[in-house]
Symmetry: C2
């Protein structure tokens, strides 16, 4: 089963990468800035959010082709957030996905501008798509800007930095990850449902499901930072402990974090049952994410 999921992930990654890079390559951008944008875009990553969007859409009977512009926009926003999070003034990281971070490969000014540009153009991708009606475009831009803006991901990154070197409660930690990771994952599955014509009720449940998945994903990230294999993950293991970061294992212990994760896996499965998606590829991914080793 793990093997077929890997195949599915890789196939989806290729399709998404093609859509992403061809959008960027067609733009008229100063050479080195374009190179820097493509450097981070082509660094890859799991393309998890686009996959979740697509599987939700197809699971609910929608046309998979329709997700691409929204998925490309979402991945552009995800990529911008990684570039900015890695900056010296933020998490000050040297490596990401096994290669130098954008500001180390280029310079800080270029990295800031590459991030700003990816964020800005993500909305342009949506409003200029010929696959959506105006009403769909407005709905997608509204949800994406809300999920990633001052009340969403940006607030999450801010709170994450504010919590550094402080001991926080598990509910504060969850709030941070809800904003920083959960909101964009929820966006992915909600838009997947929206493009399949799902009801408001179904979208509400998908939103909760995305939120649980975000927490599961984060707990597993924290666990991998303790138990993971550096060569497989592509980044240094043990950095959370060195940086005295608040993590699920640091608050609940390693076993406690694993039990906590199991609880959310159950909640996520229940959401899928409520919308009739428990026997789809989306359900496979949900359990894969909870057990992944990278």
């Amino acid at each position: 089963m793990g093997h077929s999921i890997q195949n599915m992930l890789e196939r989806e990654q290729q399709q998404l990468n093609t859509a992403l890079t061809s959008y960027i390559k067609e733009l008229t951008i100063p050479d080195r800035l374009k190179e820097s944008v493509l450097y981070s875009i082509e660094a890859g990553g799991k393309r998890l959010r686009p996959l979740l969007m697509k599987l939700t859409c197809t699971g609910l009977g929608g046309d998979p082709e329709k997700v691409y512009p929204a998925a490309v926009a979402l991945e552009m926003i995800h990529t911008y957030s990684l570039i900015h999070d890695d900056l010296p003034a933020m998490d000050d990281d040297t490596y990401r996905r096994g290669q130098l971070t954008n500001h180390k490969k280029y310079d800080e000014a270029t990295a800031i501008l590459a991030g700003d540009g990816l964020l800005t153009n993500s909305f342009h991708v949506i409003t200029t798509s010929n696959l959506y009606t105006d009403q769909e475009k407005v709905n997608i831009v509204t949800k994406l800007s809300k999920a990633s803006g001052l009340e969403g991901m940006v607030a999450g990154q801010y709170l994450d930095m504010e919590a550094e070197n402080q001991t926080i409660t598990i509910s504060n930690l969850e709030r941070i990850h809800h904003l920083k990771t959960g909101r964009l994952i929820s966006f992915a599955v909600v838009i997947g449902g929206f493009l399949a014509g799902a009801s408001l009720g179904t979208m509400e449940i998908l939103k909760k499901y995305g939120d649980y998945l975000g927490i599961i994903f984060q707990i597993q990230d924290d666990i991998l930072d303790i138990e993971g294999d550096q060569a497989i993950i592509g980044k240094r293991v043990g950095s959370d402990i060195d940086n005295e970061k608040n993590t699920y294992p640091s608050i609940l212990g390693l076993d406690g974090a694993k039990r906590y994760k199991a609880k959310y896996v159950n909640e996520a499965v229940q959401c899928l049952q409520e919308v009739g998606l428990e026997n789809t590829d989306l359900a496979l991914i949900s359990s894969y994410l909870s057990e992944r080793n990278q």
Copy 2:
């Protein structure tokens, strides 16, 4: 005449400031991040772009109230660009509009996130407005993201930094300012026309007019950095020369720059005549901008 323009500017500034701050204040944002966003938003500035949008709209017979959401969004993007441009990795400025820059008052991480958030939420302001049809929203988001993104303002800021410590030609300098300043000013007047129901032909001329105005504005900025009064401008005079920046006076000489500006003032006036706006407040502003002392 100068006095009545000052009055008009101040009246418009107040209306725009009220719309801007009430939007931000209603958002649920972590306290200190919100404070930092409001700090830069309330730092004021001339609110020139919103005024140009409004005067174009009313000059062409449109409803002035309709410009506010687009004007607020535009000013949020302008503010984000100033916050990011002032960062140590970019222009490394300590003062802006007579007060500490955002990252000096708060810190770099907060300034980066305040900028990211303002940029993201600017699109949310447009798509959630109840003054626009879906078609208008899509049109405004498309134009705004294009003008400010990888092919617009972001490219301009990148080229501006790349040109530092290099001698460039006047046409390269114009290209930089066209992207960095002109695109957003053109957006202001084009959307002002769009919201008044202007034809595509009129919007094409308005776009050119906005571009000329951007160049005029920039030349005057450069002249003020030589001849201006620090107490009135609110920032240090002579910094362009100290930083060996490429400016119109550095390439053309001070008198040459003034003549160059006069040429563009004529071009701008001609555009206004072509669309029948030569006897409106927009024309007054155009000549005011070319002579302003702050």
